[in-house]
């Protein structure tokens, strides 16, 4: 029983990291239909900012996370205005090419600037060790990630469902033309969500460095996972992505323990079947 709970907690923590990284991708893809394969690159850059500022500047963990968010969000705005904006009406193929090119540049720049080795996060004291939950003892850090992820999904849900800004995003995801003709500036909306989503990915990259690892190949290695989470969760659906991320995270964790060789095979097969059954994702709404 204890073992079952700890496996579940480990899977949940991995799922939360997947959620924090992927949620921005889901919203931006839903808004503009932009196939952004470079999203994992933003997570990697954020992870590096966080890990390196902690290591070299001695920044504490939380301010480092904030800095990672800000730095990557700023970079995202620049890239969005300079390049992405030109490709909104381009074909998927052009978007795929551009973002693959961007990933290559990101990977090579990090390899050049920092080196190809894996980076490790030095956790602050209050996140080390184990926490006693009464019924089971588990790693404090994983528990903290679960708490942070849950808080984030509640916050995002409130932002989406209860604010005017969120209503605009939902309107634009469901019917962009209609939203535009009602006076919503979808371009500006996109810039803001793109920056925010990339910033969240940065935090996910830093928080998840313990679990997913952090090295220059990160964006390509996890690309399929991020895309699976978004495709299964449905485009532009925060709660959908949340459940999809938890599902994939727990499944992956459990399968890796019990079937270390064939686990990933099962996840790919499941995704295939799911997407054939519901092309709009498990939680997505059918396009009108």
């Amino acid at each position: 029983m204890d073992q079952l709970i700890s496996i579940l907690l480990g899977g949940l923590a991995a799922g939360m990291v997947l959620f924090i990284v992927s949620v921005g991708l889901s919203v931006t893809m839903g808004l503009m239909g932009f196939v952004n394969l470079a999203h994992g690159g933003f997570a990697m850059l954020g992870g590096y900012v966080i890990v390196l500022t902690m290591k070299h500047w001695g920044l504490p963990f939380l301010p480092a996370l904030g800095l990672g968010f800000a730095a990557v969000a700023a970079l995202a705005v620049v890239l969005e205005r300079l390049f992405y904006a030109r490709l909104y009406r381009a074909s998927e193929l052009d978007q795929v090419l551009f973002t693959i090119g961007l990933v290559f540049v990101m990977i090579a720049s990090i390899t050049l600037a920092v080196g190809p080795e894996t980076q490790t996060v030095v956790l602050p004291d209050w996140l080390r060790g184990q926490t006693d939950l009464g019924f089971v003892k588990y790693r404090s850090y994983s528990l903290a990630i679960i708490v942070a992820g849950s808080a984030l999904v509640v916050g995002l849900w409130l932002g989406f469902e209860r604010t005017r800004f969120g209503a605009r995003i939902r309107a634009a995801v469901d019917n962009r033309r209609m939203a535009e003709s009602l006076g919503t500036d979808v371009g500006r909306l996109f810039t803001l969500t793109f920056a925010f989503g990339s910033g969240l990915a940065a935090i996910g990259g830093g928080l998840g460095a313990e679990i997913l690892g952090l090295d220059p190949q990160y964006p390509l290695r996890y690309l399929v996972y991020f895309l699976i989470v978004v495709a299964v969760g449905g485009l532009g659906r925060v709660t959908g992505v949340f459940f999809a991320a938890l599902l994939i995270g727990v499944l992956d964790f459990v399968l890796k323990i019990y079937f270390p060789k064939g686990g990933t095979l099962f996840i790919y097969a499941l995704t295939l079947v799911l997407l054939l059954w519901r092309p709009q994702g498990l939680f997505g709404r059918r396009a009108s």
């Binding site: 090119g101 540049v105 399929v224």
Partner: protein, 327 residues
């Protein structure tokens, strides 16, 4: 020349279409030490050509085309390793059949979707095959693949040598010529025209009663079979197969080659493969990071400014300099 005549005559054979093949034979005599590289180049051209059929002509955006390359490579690899079936030509046929069957089966279910879902599904199919090849170590050699494959001499006369690649090069050149002829006939046939129609205006093709999905599945199947032949050539000429034949990197690589040369045109694959592999040969070993940055920047620039690749730039230049038409 009027537009109508140009349209009517564009499938006619032009004298300059002999040049690539003349160059291919010239390379054989002029650079006997570079035939291993030349063989890889020919295989890359064939692979990119197969992708052009679905991506350039039918407009199916796929990220998983290496699935079929890998299927072909593993087919000849496993036949040679486990059944001792090492006759190269029949191996090519077997590879084409297996890859084509996978293309038919996956195309039949996948091509009802489009956009991001289709992209994801092609990616997942490839990842699935890659994992299967990784897991089925007893058949596929798992992570290490199958090194040191033995193949019988071509036609019983020309053995493959791994030092000079003389027979491999001519073999690949000949197979490429045959496959190219097939693709050339296909794209100018009514079938090819209807593929272009589907790419350009899906709704209208439905409206005029074209069997859209059947056409797409057929194109996908043929393309898969050709990619399988490319993969089989790869395994036979190099005498090994490993997981690299199936991965995202190979799928992205062939996409880059095709886009760089120019898609939706017969010779884009040739130009793209030559430029890409020459640059890679010159830069990738010596300056791997610089190569990756350069590649990334080129990709971004192509997506932003030069959607028709190198051949497209050539066309634009010729138009600007007062030439009359694009070939």
């Amino acid at each position: 020349m009027t537009a109508a005549r140009q349209l009517a005559e564009r499938h006619r054979f032009k004298w300059w279409e002999l040049l690539p093949w003349a160059a291919g034979i010239a390379v054989f005599f002029a650079f006997p030490n570079y035939l291993a590289f030349g063989t890889q180049l020919l295989i890359a051209i064939l692979f990119a050509l197969s992708l052009d059929l679905v991506l350039g002509y039918a407009g199916i955006v796929t990220l998983g085309h290496a699935a079929f390359f890998g299927a072909g490579a593993y087919t000849v690899g496993m036949l040679a390793q486990h059944l001792g079936w090492n006759e190269p030509l029949s191996g090519l046929v077997a590879a084409a059949l297996v890859a084509g069957a996978i293309g038919l089966a996956s195309g039949y279910v996948l091509l009802r979707t489009h956009g991001l879902t289709l992209l994801m599904l092609t990616l997942c199919t490839m990842a699935l095959l890659e994992e299967a090849a990784n897991m089925g170590a007893a058949f596929t050699g798992g992570f290490d693949g199958m090194p040191g494959l033995k193949f019988a001499p071509l036609l019983g006369l020309f053995p493959f040598d791994l030092l000079f690649f003389r027979s491999q090069y001519l073999y690949a050149l000949l197979v490429l010529l045959l496959c190219f002829a097939l693709v050339r006939i296909l794209v100018y046939s009514p079938f090819g025209q209807s593929l272009t129609g589907i790419r350009e205006n899906l709704l209208r093709m439905h409206a005029v009663g074209a069997p859209v999905r059947a056409r797409l599945v057929l194109a996908y199947t043929i393309s898969a079979a050709l990619a399988g032949v490319a993969g089989a050539l790869f395994a036979q000429t190099n005498a090994f197969v490993n997981l690299g034949a199936l991965g995202l990197e190979r799928a992205a690589g062939v996409l880059i080659i095709l886009i760089l040369g120019g898609y939706g045109r017969l010779y884009g694959a040739f130009v793209g493969a030559i430029v890409y592999l020459l640059l890679e040969h010159a830069l990738a070993k010596a300056y791997p990071t610089a190569w990756q940055i350069g590649l990334g920047v080129v990709l971004m620039a192509v997506a932003l400014y030069a959607r028709n690749g190198i051949l497209g730039i050539g066309d634009a230049l010729r138009r600007r300099l007062g030439g009359q038409r694009a070939p």
